[in-house]
Symmetry: C2
Subunit: 276 residues, 2 copies
Amino acid sequence: MGTWFTEKQTDHFGITAKVNRSLHSEKTDFQDLEILETEEWGNMLVLDDMVMTTERDEFVYHEMLAHVPLFTHPSPKKVLVVGGGDGGVIREVLKHSSVEKAVLVEIDGKVIEYSKKYLPTIAGALDDERVEVKVTDGFMHIAKSEREYDVIMVDSTEPVGPAVSLFSRGFYEGISKALKEDGIFVAQTDNPWFKADLMKQVHADVKETFPITKVYTANIPTYPSGLWTFTMGSNIYHPLQVSDERFFEIDTKYYTEEIHKACFALPKFVKDLTKE
Amino acid sequence: MGTWFTEKQTDHFGITAKVNRSLHSEKTDFQDLEILETEEWGNMLVLDDMVMTTERDEFVYHEMLAHVPLFTHPSPKKVLVVGGGDGGVIREVLKHSSVEKAVLVEIDGKVIEYSKKYLPTIAGALDDERVEVKVTDGFMHIAKSEREYDVIMVDSTEPVGPAVSLFSRGFYEGISKALKEDGIFVAQTDNPWFKADLMKQVHADVKETFPITKVYTANIPTYPSGLWTFTMGSNIYHPLQVSDERFFEIDTKYYTEEIHKACFALPKFVKDLTKE
């Protein structure tokens, strides 16, 4: 049978993947980091026993976190990614020629280091000249920023360990201040099957801060339940009122203009979580 | 740790669920049948080691297989479900008051028997007076039917064991003949992550038979990859040209009018499978 890695996504359910070998394993200052070579998904980044990204299905998460807000904003120039040390979101951000500067603020330098080594198709973009990488605390970086960014994307782990502060109302208020007045915020907000309460709380908190708050979904096979949600907060621009001319051809495997419009249609039980 | 049931969805990947106890287990004339009481998903029907349905997430599959074609047809009166012995699709079909008769053709009577016993919220509808249950081969039933049904739904297992013949071009031709001239056909057609070739072949075959062929998706956590596809074949009615007045309030947990329109937007790598 060989070795299998099992992620318990809840106390009673999980996924399991055949592992050819462990490429790296260490306890960093912030979390347990492991890179596994799996048969089904290619190389896989695991933090605190949770799958963060895999070579095979990473495109879904990274494209959907980046392109939905970037196509909603009419001309994103300065973009901040909080977390996301694997570089996948930055790679997608750079596909927008309007972007002059993309700042990555990742708390754990080891994630960057080992993603560059073992996930080069994902992390390669971090060496681009438009990218500035800061190894520091995202919450603190946000607190010091004022009217600086067009789009802020929060690519965090789940709210355990170093990411706890990234799921707080104070954080969303900080983001609102760090954004330009017409800025857009987006965060990954887990799944409605196992984390309904979290999703509901985040939605309520973001809604307190941003006049336009919308949830969208994408299918990510290696994430819990496969149905992932993203929550967007915007002051002015509505993601479903994007002019047709705004969309341009882009090299993607998941995102399309049609998906942009469709991903906001929520299954009824998910939509119910966004109502007071 | 207790007992866990693991479904190997591919040779190198699977899901695993904590089992409180096995409620029933037998080798029927057609397949291995097991009903497990799980902690996360409630009672679970397993055929040939594959999860068929669970009490907790069954609504997604059953609603999406039934309501998308039923709301596309202006007035479905006679409906055939091939397979689906658990009764979930029939339950959804009966929510349409236009339906006068719903025929279920299931090859394995044991699936019906034990679904009624252990999945009563799913199978209870099979006792409705509008329902006729036939324990016989779906392929043969289709071959004997002519211009009889408004909608035919194929709720089969994957194309192994008794379901092999339900994924053949001859079967789709038989369905076309069994449908009234303005009839609609829909089948579950597996997932694009692990069964891309199957999906592609089915789409090409259905397209040979029906002028309007469309693929739509839904998220089903306990099915491989979580991204499930359905392929619809129609002679006249287009699922995206349904008059707004056609939609009526219906008691669902996943399907909505918005989802009906959005579920046909395919991720780019899935859409590519539907091109020649």
